[in-house]
Symmetry: C2
Subunit: 248 residues, 2 copies
């Protein structure tokens, strides 16, 4: 890739509710072309998939109540976090977990920022790669365009201030660009360079997304060489096994 790249926000999407055909709405709102990568914010995927929960309807168990007390959190929220997790990574001040789908993030990625007492929260899609594959297939069927889909969410990062958008699901693109063994400009072989392309696409898409204006879908145009026929390994390939994590 050495050509220019365009990031185009897609206006005109309605507020998404459970059961909405998100792929059809995207196909209608976006003018998609072959080779486009469609970056979709997790929030609308979760809403379409009915991943809302009411904290008032959640019964917190013993473990959730204990953890919640130590963290000064809502026991109902902690109960949901535990239900969405396979492992607690850290439980000091914040609750960092590995989700059932293998993502390491605060509060299992549950968006409770607007939930009052007993209020509504939004869970991550149960299987974001599967969501990406379904969206891709349906958007391709509706538009005839050969595209890739990346589902994105904002994660905090160790060591750095602020959140950055990352890929939690993808289809039609390899999330990693493996430069290991390829020669660089000077003909020398590059060592240990795997680039997390899907995360960089997610981050790029966030630059044109105005949270206040509600622009959950961004077209990334100019990466056509990276759009593949198969769905590829999915964003699960970005999840580092604990034993292989040199930073952990």
């Amino acid at each position: 890739m050495s050509g220019a790249l365009e990031l185009i926000p897609v206006p005109g999407l309605p507020e998404i509710a459970e059961g909405d055909d998100l792929a059809a709405l995207i196909a209608e709102a976006a003018r998609l072309a072959d080779g486009d990568v469609v970056a979709v914010a997790q929030k609308v995927v979760s809403k379409a998939e009915g991943r809302r929960r009411l904290l008032a309807e959640v019964a917190a168990g013993e473990r959730a109540r204990e953890l919640a007390a130590g963290l000064d959190k809502d026991p109902a929220l902690v109960e949901l976090v535990l239900a969405e997790s396979r492992r607690i990574v850290r439980a000091e001040r914040v609750l960092i977990v590995e989700t059932t789908s293998g993502l390491v993030c605060a509060n299992a990625g549950i968006d409770s920022s607007n939930a009052g007492a007993g209020g509504e929260v939004l869970l991550l899609p149960a299987d974001p790669d599967a969501s990406a594959r379904r969206l891709r297939a349906a958007i391709e069927a509706a538009t005839g365009a050969h595209i890739a889909v990346v589902i994105t969410d904002s994660f905090g990062r160790p060591w750095r201030v602020g959140q950055s958008e990352v890929a939690i699901g993808c289809a039609g693109i390899d999330p990693l660009d493996d430069w290991r063994g390829r020669p660089d400009r000077d003909g020398r072989v590059l060592a240990a360079t795997e680039i997390a392309i899907a995360d960089e696409i997610a981050a790029a898409s966030d630059l044109v997304r105005d949270k206040a204006a509600g622009l959950p879908v961004v077209i990334v145009r100019g990466l056509g060489e990276r759009v593949i026929a198969e769905d590829g390994p999915g964003a699960v390939a970005l999840r580092r096994a604990e034993a292989e994590d040199l930073f952990r």
Copy 2:
């Protein structure tokens, strides 16, 4: 921001050597316009600033030799890492440090991927924000365009596979976009959302940079509203104080 955004690689830069006037070379090779953000790969900044070192000329001290033995690394490289660091974060399998300029990364960001025994390595700029400010001032003087500069480097991340480009220095743009307290689409106030814009710009720029083709400079066009008159706080604002790091 809700308009489209363009990422334009800048071809035609020569191989950079110590003492080269990088700003003049960029001003000549790029057609810059008001509001452009110029993303510059750390590698060319370090080269222009003479941050090359020969491992053969480095005398490893006692501590470096001990650490190197435990990590199976070149003692000369470890000596350079220690000299560039204010603190060791981790020394198991890899050496994660906080650099003298406050970045947390492997091997103090020293690029030794192409260094044979005794060979040449490249250090990070001594003060990447100062480098960004100097580049900005000189590019603005040469072109008359009102721009921002972001200096980027590829960092590995805890919990996720692959490297992603981040901002190690910046001038003319606030590296953080603070959404805390602003209302969202539904009129509800957003909680705890600070977006690391400079890191997202760095990641985006990497998508059009072909490492083999040698394209260290990328123009990010469409973020003019974010380009400010002053230099701003610099990428140092992205470096989380250890005590405030909920992930650590």
